[in-house]
């Protein structure tokens, strides 16, 4: 598989004095589900935001090998709380990027929004306001919105956090199905061990103390690692008691 994202010598953080990650290099291959793992405050979400172009890196390069059609965004991003617009219905949330980036007539846009919501199992919530959805439904709706412009890369920030195990497993299954059927490359931030084992092909484990990538490979390779901090993460053992 070819690399669709190549990260070289990347440093991220709030300033030169507040660095979260230094000299990180990794690549994400086309069609894989790639995990950004790590403990809380290790910089996973910030790294995702840098990859999505929402934050500037302190140093290093990110190369995205995607074709942008008519400057239409090549990334679909699902934020941790969904970030749905509370004043719009779910359908209008999904339709918004299509209204912005395509010349489709309103009936076609509604048709696409309906199909995207059906895809994530939310067609019944077409005209519902986000406030009236559960946490899991909001995340599904946010995935539908992220998929609206057919992006080749989907970025998901903790898609299953705060959800019950069944809903969490359903979201994982949805991500795997979408990635496989639509040929998407998915970059997912998570620290849910169940999700890591269920859907992730390859991953990197960030370490907040050394501000570096502690390990990278498949979940199985990381699970078998002899590095103590990697073992702590995968075997849920405390570092300090």
């Amino acid at each position: 598989m070819t690399a669709i994202v190549e990260v070289h010598d990347l440093s991220i953080g709030w300033s030169r004095d507040e660095v979260l990650l230094e000299h990180a290099s990794f690549d994400v291959r086309t069609g894989e589900i790639f995990g950004l793992l790590g403990r809380s405050a290790s910089g996973k979400t910030t790294l995702l935001r840098v990859l999505a172009g929402l934050e500037a890196p302190l140093a290093g390069t990110i190369e995205m090998r995607v074709t942008e059609h008519d400057h239409c965004p090549a990334l679909g991003v699902m934020f941790q709380q969904g970030a749905l617009f509370g004043s719009m219905t779910i359908a209008d949330n999904v339709a918004l990027p299509l209204q912005r980036w395509t010349d489709l007539p309103p009936d076609a846009i509604r048709a696409i929004a309906r199909a995207k919501l059906r895809l994530v199992g939310l067609e019944a919530a077409f005209d519902v306001m986000p406030a009236n959805l559960s946490g899991g439904m909001r995340k599904r709706a946010a995935i539908a919105r992220a998929l609206a412009l057919e992006p080749p890369i989907l970025m998901l920030d903790e898609p299953s956090s705060g959800l019950d195990p069944i809903t969490s497993a359903e979201i994982d299954a949805l991500i795997a199905t979408l990635a496989h059927a639509l040929g998407l490359t998915v970059i997912v931030v998570t620290h849910e061990l169940g999700s890591i084992d269920a859907i992730i092909d390859r991953c990197i484990l960030l370490d907040r103390d050394s501000r570096s990538i502690l390990a990278q490979g498949t979940p199985r390779e990381l699970r078998d690692s002899t590095v103590p901090r990697v073992q702590h993460f995968f075997h849920r053992t405390p570092e300090h008691v």
């Binding site: 059609h69 239409c72 007539p105 406030a131 009236n132 057919e150 496989h180 639509l182 040929g183």
Partner: protein, 359 residues
């Protein structure tokens, strides 16, 4: 030459080439034109090299409600088709009829009346519980509630009632002067302010200040699960939160109304002195002959009813808030509308009852 083609015949739709979001507007028009007269029975995608999710979404809309089969799909297209079209036939969208919507609205209106009755019943039970156990209600909050609704609202109540009395008197000056009946400005202002204007204006101000504040306050508590936390601690929110607010407004509303009566009359007196050459003594003597105690206390009785209604409406909307910040906003707006509506209805009923008893 586009990289795609949509070819329609009687009962067949053929998609050719690479069909993607970038070309979706033209593809949508072509599919609509090809299927306008005949729903396709077969969709042939054997010559399609790629169909993305957006075009498959449009295709799903085109074939919604008709029985048709997709033929010639490559494994990649079949996978996208399976995802978007599924194995099942797509149902027609259900459009609710006007009569059904009317029925639904009627049902909701009736249910709302039932909810208000249930809420009032809850309050009666809470009152009983509080009589048995004084700690059921949050009495410590009562002084602060009275201060917020009463003392903090005093300047605006005084100012608006003065202006209402002033404007009301001013409107009559021209006509009273024509008949040489300047002194009757005291009668007009005295009766209208004490029986109607002061209770109404004061209640409207209380609705905007306290009614809305109660809805927002309790609504925020509801969405942040504080109300649920109270319940888990065995504290009934009606007794703990609603009862003190109802008592606060039942106390504050007549006091503010009485002050509104005084300042409204002073507004009329200002006009009488400035425009009608009346003396303060003459104005007050005329006022005493025409305004009797029942004019004042009927206004005060109405204001107690308004205060209780405003508190109940605000608290009920707050406690039934659903959703996050938007729900709190909706509850606050609904409170203002319901308060104004209720105040006018109560005022009409009270006026008719007082008239029936010769008051």
């Amino acid at each position: 030459m586009p990289a795609w083609q949509v070819i329609g015949s009687d009962d067949r739709l053929e998609l050719v080439g690479e069909l993607r979001l970038a070309d979706a507007p033209a593809i949508w028009r072509a599919m609509r034109a090809a299927t306008r007269e005949h729903a396709p029975r077969q969709i042939d995608v054997s010559k399609a090299t790629a169909i993305d999710g957006a075009v498959m979404s449009l295709l799903s809309e085109v074939i919604r409600g008709c029985t048709c089969e997709l033929v010639g799909a490559t494994p990649a297209i079949a996978e996208v088709a399976h995802l978007y079209l599924g194995a099942r036939q797509l149902p027609h969208p259900v459009h609710e009829r006007a009569i059904a919507r009317l029925g639904d609205a009627t049902y909701r209106a009736v249910r709302a009346v039932g909810d208000v009755a249930a809420f009032t019943g809850d309050l009666a039970i809470a009152l009983g519980a509080t009589v048995r156990n004084r700690r059921a209600a949050d009495w410590r909050s009562l002084p602060a509630l009275i201060e917020r609704a009463g003392i903090d609202g005093l300047p605006i109540v005084v100012l608006l009632n003065f202006l209402i009395g002033f404007v009301g008197a001013f409107q009559t000056t021209r006509y009273l002067q024509q008949f040489g009946a300047n002194i009757y400005v005291a009668d007009i202002v005295g009766i209208s302010v004490t029986r109607e204007l002061s209770p109404l204006i004061t209640a409207i101000i209380i609705s905007g200040r306290s009614g809305a504040a109660y809805a927002a306050e309790l609504g925020t508590m509801r969405v942040s699960e504080e109300i649920d936390a109270l319940r888990t601690m065995g504290i009934g929110p009606t007794a703990y939160l609603v009862l003190p607010r109802v008592i606060a407004l039942a106390v504050v509303a007549p006091v503010l109304t009485l002050l509104g009566d005084i300042t409204g009359v002073l507004g009329g007196l200002a006009v009488g002195k400035a425009s009608l050459s009346l003396t303060a003594t003459g104005f007050m003597n005329e006022l005493r002959t025409i305004v009797v105690a029942s004019d004042v206390w009927t206004g005060l009785v109405k204001s107690v009813a308004f205060g209780v209604a405003i508190a109940l409406i605000g608290c009920r909307h707050g406690l039934s808030t659903r959703g996050a910040a938007a729900g709190v906003g909706r509850g606050t707006t609904a409170t203002i509308v319901a308060c104004l509506f209720s105040i006018v209805i109560l005022d009409t009923l009270a006026t008719m009852v007082f008239r029936e008893f010769g008051l």
